[in-house]
Symmetry: D2
Subunit: 368 residues, 4 copies
């Protein structure tokens, strides 16, 4: 503290020795003074350890394929998923302090066995098809959900789930989970299910979609969701997402509101039983930038991961900047300014910890 | 009170005179004793004045057509709407103590001028098309909404609205409002808008649908609704309703849950910004009975009005019963047992005051 | 409708006959046109049938005493309660379209037997003591609640309750219930309990108070309330109310916020488990005006009943005005402007249907 | 993964080399496979790094006094607070992954200058008095709050606050903040206020108490709280807490419900404007064990810190156990079983991250 006030007299040698003794006593007593740490503990604005980072699809996919050749899928490892590891969080496999993001790869006819966990999860498909994710419908009945390009598939917390590739070609997609948050909070529980798949059905539409994917329509007799935080709709199809984004830009062309900002359309994936976020701890959105669009620079308390779904553009996150194309993933640490621009147009998927920040009264946003 | 206890001695003539004086004094003081009224005021179960009642479409439509020939539409009368008047509520135009239901008729090229009111309203179309309802989007911008067979169109409270028939043929539909409830509560405000239509556009899809009628997708940049109780989605199309009902029955065929009871599918029209009822004071639902189905007999605290949308069947409400077909309307007073059966299948639209009962903690239901 | 548009040609005799036939056909078909009724059904602002009205305590109490001498209390009549009957609502016993208010009178050693009902109820004590209201704690256990001057005692919906006078003197108080609302909605259920009192205990503090009447403190192990709408605290003591009102005026004296308007303090009685209104359908408040205060004139959608608790003043409601003193009751119909002024200071209890209006999105207030 | 399945053939040297290359490629690409980490990332039940730990008041207080002699309070260090550092979280000053707990010490006539921060905070006083905490009332007006033995004082997020010791003796108390949680989430903002105290008033009761500390009474005209998550009541006095706990044990003596378990009373400090937790991210409770009581062993997802307020007993947390007395603090890591027993009776203050777990759907509890 004396260092912070130059008007105080220099401490004497005796005082310095007394201070040394005091700090040693603190350490022996498992105590740490605030005054030597406050800047790190309570910065004037978020000072994340995680850094802006880009992972290119052209790097990820070949490595996933290589893992497909060398590493079996099965009980114990559970999933052939390779996570984005933020260099600012060394020793972890975290994209940000709250978000885990990975490429998952399933070879021809491969299966990943059933398990369930407190961690909420989604899959987003940037290319390919042929895998079904079988998810507990919340009522103990397994629901087989097809995975196709552009689709978002949910696995709410503690819902059993397993994957099967029904084709002769491999498939890769991204997984998003709140693993870091749950790990930090010491909140996780995990259970193994049977080795055998619960179903080998491959319906085009899952039962949850057939009941819940109708706009503004609630099925009166549907089994109640497992909880307010578990969306009964677990598949959001590209066909609907694409149509909703196109409509926003068409409305803009006609002079009507609907877009986030000029040239920038966005939809949020929501739980139709509550209208809240589709997952309790992660927000999922799809953004579309019209050709020739640049977003405003925005910074947000909380972190996010983006994946380019189609098109290309230039992204800046804090002091970093990259040219990006289909499949590329990047993370946005808390309070880092984000700006996206595109010549030819760009669609991008975003997920973030916004629901956590909003639930705890921590949300904050500004356009610098 | 003496009448309720036979063991008490008969009152003397003097006592009777004193009682007479007391009751006269009550009356002069604008007071009424509970003990003479309690049975009527606080019955052991609801004892509605309104009665079960059927109105046949074959009666309503010709009378509406006749009114079309004789009575102009315009400022003052506002709408050529003829309400269902429950015989148990004489002197009123109420279908039930809370619900107003009417057939509205608009001749070729006719218009109904703009107004707004606290009362929430919907239109449901049992036949025909060609009319557009222009509704304030909640942000002061007018949104032209096409009306077609099977569609439900909303006018949340205090949203400006007007109608125009763009064709050379007439069109009729039903209006539902909470007029009786708002009148009883003395809660109503009403304002006239301009004589001239705000727009003559006739888009196939309204702007509110283009933004909000995508399953599980919330438009991030859409203008916020006027209030939590005002649905930003104001048109629910038959195409979606039909598909949702068909899916429930198909799931039943496959042995999965989803229907209300065997052979009985139902969807509720909901506000996609809250997942609550589409209107603050009225619940709207579409029901489908498979051929050969009979519902359980159910009674509910609160009242409802039904309209057969297609098919035919037999309905019993309390002690009444009718054969019903397309367009026929009937009301279900509070706590009257309702049962519907059909040989050939039947679709029916239902609206009720359930949201009021639920908000006030008054909801109750039983299968006798 | 022709009457509303002077520019339309006068109808011919034939047209008039055709119209007569149409209206006769409407009547035969149990139909009522909107255009002849719209002014009454949907006025531009609330046009209540109920009228501003004053009932003087000096009238009510002697009549209640007289009833005490002539009319027994017991099964059937249930309570010796005499209701305020609004002259604008003839044939009813309603103070307003939603609120029932009565003076209840219990003679020395008298008892009123147990019953329960959907209708929510409270007692407010303007003078006297010695009666205990035994109320179901929501967990089936009876809780004896002392009634003393200035106290507010609740009976949430479907809670068993009974009264006993343990003294040799009579006691009178006011009862408030939502009888008219529940009757209009056909929502009421009523059950008789045993003839014999469930308890004859006379504790100074009820168990619900001992658990719940601590500021900002929730009892972790208390039985959960019967529902979100049933307050677990059922007695609000004058000592606390008085202290809270005094504090607001003292803060005003010191230049700090807290009062509603200059010289006007007010507290609302709330459910400590939700912070919402103490009853699901009625708001209860106590107001204090400092000597020399006049409130602003305010009108509110929804109706209220007030009772002067102490002091005196002058009240105007719409076009009416009265000098009022302790015990006097008056009603405020919807949208009638209310103004209260006092020379010597005045405390008044208010109850209203505000929770209904807020739950249904109907609340509105203005200072003309 | 091969290690998890003994039935797979041993890899060849070539396969091992290929795997080595793959893992090196992962590392170069900032990627981490799930299958090598899943046990640590997603354990079957919480496996906290933090450990059960006891800090004795007899150690803390002398060190705080020594710091009082050697380290000035003032701008930069901000507060003479010395935090409990969990040995399982080396390099941090965290009691648990979400909670920061410290002893704060203010010498005679000392002051700690104004600042504000996103982190929510409270003070709890185990002994002494004479310090006032001046807190922003949420409306920009400073409210001086006395600190006395047994009191809980709040500083909701972003409320300016400062301390002054008005006496000639020192005072120490504990501070609780959500610093670790906010730091992990990168959610923190911090601002310095003026050097000079905003007020030197020393009222016995703060203004927030005078408005809000009345049981079941909401001040109608009080300024609205800064947010739903900011309690307008910021001081909970020992007098009320003690009375509430005593009432629960008295009710138990009389055979009525109210205690958490036999001999164990508890109150939760709640926001009177919402009935939710008093702070957005921390739950605060006071527990009282009757002499001769032992609690059930309970484990909870989420962590907590306890301070013995009076009496003595024996505590076991997971595999650890200690005899404890007044002022002693201990932490309970997530899912560690907690059991407390006492011969002579014991009062203890508890704070935890339960509100975070409940908001995010992560709460879980069991009695092993």
């Amino acid at each position: 503290m004396t260092t912070t006030d130059p008007h105080v007299d220099e401490p004497t040698a005796e005082e310095l020795r007394a201070l040394d003794e005091l700090y040693a006593a603190f350490e022996a007593a498992h105590m740490t003074p605030l005054w030597t740490q406050i800047g790190g503990l309570m910065p004037t604005a978020p000072r994340p350890d995680s850094v802006p980072m880009l992972w290119r699809w052209s790097t990820l996919l070949p490595l996933a394929e290589r893992a497909g050749a060398l590493v079996p899928v099965g009980r114990g490892g559970e999933r052939r998923a390779i996570a984005l590891a933020n260099p600012g969080l060394p020793g972890t496999a975290y994209a940000t302090p709250t978000l885990w993001a990975a490429i998952q790869y399933l070879g021809p006819r491969e299966e990943a066995p059933s398990h369930r966990h407190v961690q909420t999860a989604f899959r987003f498909v940037v290319e390919g098809e042929g895998v079904w994710t079988n998810v507990d419908g919340g009522d103990g009945r397994v629901d087989a959900i097809a995975m196709r390009r552009g689709d978002l598939l949910l696995t709410p917390g503690m819902h059993w789930h397993e994957h099967q590739n029904t084709t002769d070609h491999p498939m890769a997609w991204i997984d998003g989970l709140d693993i870091p948050l749950v790990r930090t909070l010491d909140a996780g529980f995990f259970e193994l299910g049977p080795e055998e798949l619960a179903t080998r059905e491959t319906p085009a539409l899952s039962r949850n979609e057939r009941l819940w994917a109708h706009p503004g329509l609630t099925p009166v007799g549907a089994p109640p969701p497992a909880s307010r935080l578990a969306s009964p709709l677990m598949a959001y199809r590209w066909e609907h997402t694409d149509r909703a984004l196109a409509a926003q830009l068409a409305l803009e062309d006609e002079g009507h509101p609907g877009v986030v900002e000029p040239g920038h359309a966005a939809v949020r994936f929501t739980n139709p039983a509550t209208a809240g976020d589709c997952l309790s701890t992660m927000r999922c959105e799809m953004h579309r930038l019209r050709p020739g669009t640049a977003t405003a620079s925005v910074r947000t308390a909380g972190s996010a991961v983006w994946q380019v779904f189609s098109g290309s553009g230039r992204v800046s996150v804090g002091a970093e900047g990259w040219d990006v194309g289909t499949g590329d993933l990047f993370c946005v640490p808390s309070w880092a300014a984000l700006r996206v621009e595109t010549d030819g147009g760009l669609d991008a998927f975003r997920f973030s910890d916004d629901p956590v920040f909003e639930a705890l009264g921590l949300a904050r946003k500004e356009t610098p």
